[in-house]
Every structure is written in structure tokens, then in C-alpha cells.
């Protein structure tokens, strides 16, 4: 299940309820709005999404993860609109029989989201200015958020 929404995101347990008793290892990654970026104090973040493509691409990412990591259940949610510091911008949950596959799938999904999901972040600074954030995420792994 992939969710894109303007309201606060569900936590991992709500996004992927315990239903499959074969899954003993569950990994949740949550990316939260932090108060600084590249030396500047950040007061809030705004996310703009291309909804139709984000929904479709989010579902493709989860389907690919299920293919790639075998018997693993994955779900993810991304926020859009204006977020305050500390709020979750993205949540990824992966569950598998054992922890290794769950960690691997969770990491792969958050990396794919940062690489492919059509979502753009605009930072609001203390001095009242705003700027689109240049993507520095392609090859650096899950520097969150």
C-alpha cells in the first residue's frame, strides 16, 4: 500500500498492521522534518507532489521491492503540503520472516522514493525566505529526511 496525503502520516503499525504471522521481523523508517539543512536554520518544509505520478510510481516501487526481496511485505506513505519541524514526511515499513530481508527492503524502498518519487521539498528559513531544495540524494543513500 502506498499513501500520499496532506494530513499527518500513520505510524508503521497502522501502515502495515500485523496480519501475516509468517513475518517476525519488522523495520520502520521514518523521515522527519529537521531544523537545519546545509548550515541554514529551517522553520518549516513544504512538499509539492505530482499526485498521479507519485501514486503510480510509489506503487511501482513497492511492487518492485516485493519482487526483489522475495517474501516481504512493504508499505510506504509520503506527506504533501506544509509540515512543521519534527513531523514525519515519509514512513516506510517492511516485514519479513527474518530481519535481514526486512532491513534490506526498507532501505531499498526509501532510497527508491528519494530517487524516483515526484515530490519536491521547499524549505522555509528563519529570515522568511523560501527555496526549493536541490536534490543531493541520488548516490548518498538514505540521508534522512
Amino acid at each position: 500500500m502506498f499513501v500520499l496525503q496532506a494530513s499527518p502520516l500513520p505510524g508503521g503499525a497502522d501502515l502495515l498492521p500485523p496480519g501475516d504471522l509468517a513475518c517476525g521481523g519488522v523495520v520502520v523508517f521514518e523521515g522527519r522534518v529537521r531544523d537545519h539543512n546545509e548550515g541554514r536554520a529551517v522553520t518549516a518544509l513544504e512538499y509539492e507532489a505530482y499526485e498521479a505520478l507519485a501514486q503510480a510510481e510509489g506503487e511501482r516501487i513497492l511492487a518492485e521491492a516485493a519482487q526483489r526481496f522475495g517474501p516481504v511485505r512493504v508499505a510506504a506513505a509520503h506527506r504533501q503540503g506544509l509540515l512543521q519541524l519534527g513531523e514525519a514526511a515519509v514512513v516506510v515499513v517492511a516485514a519479513s520472516a527474518h530481519r535481514q530481508e526486512a532491513f534490506a527492503a526498507c532501505r531499498w524502498v526509501i532510497d527508491a522514493i528519494k530517487e524516483r518519487l515526484p515530490v519536491w521539498k521547499r524549505e522555509h528559513y528563519v529570515d522568511g525566505t523560501r527555496a526549493w531544495v536541490a536534490c543531493g540524494c541520488h548516490h548518498h543513500g538514505p540521508e534522512a529526511p
Binding site: E48, Y50, L53, P118, K121, W132, A144
Partner: protein
């Protein structure tokens, strides 16, 4: 051919709109981008962008069809 172009982030700021109908003699997103660059001053070039047609990423040389929704995707920064 007539298509709908969607703009996001820096491209939306540059175009001054989130969406516009464009009519012209273009067959691929690459042609369309050249056409759009004559109408707007964009801060990004084709090498910085991905393109989607009808909510699916496609190559810049993919064929366009009448009524397609085309978006040029600036570098993403979700997560």
C-alpha cells in the same frame, strides 16, 4: 498535436502556471521541450529533467499522442 503540460517546483515558478495546453508540431517530449523553451525561460535544462507521459516515466524520444499529459520532472527531493 495538442497536449497538456504540467509544471512543478522550479519549472512551475518559471512558467507562472501549474498547467497549460500546448498545440504545435512536436512528436516527442524532446520536441515539446524545445517548443516550450521558446515560450518560457526555465532554470533547468533537458539534461536535468526526467519526463512522464500520462503518469509514467518515459524516454525523451517516446512518441506523444493527442491529449497526453506531459510533465517535465525537475530533480526530486522527497523523503
Amino acid at each position: 498535436m495538442k497536449v497538456t503540460v504540467r509544471y512543478f517546483a522550479q519549472l512551475r515558478d518559471a512558467a507562472g502556471t501549474g498547467s497549460e495546453q500546448v498545440e504545435g508540431d512536436f512528436r516527442t517530449p524532446a520536441d515539446l521541450w524545445t517548443h516550450l523553451c521558446a515560450r518560457h525561460v526555465f532554470p533547468l535544462g533537458a539534461a536535468d529533467l526526467r519526463v512522464s507521459v500520462n503518469a509514467r516515466y518515459v524516454p525523451f524520444e517516446a512518441p506523444l499522442g493527442e491529449g497526453d499529459e506531459v510533465a517535465f520532472i525537475p530533480p526530486v527531493s522527497g523523503g
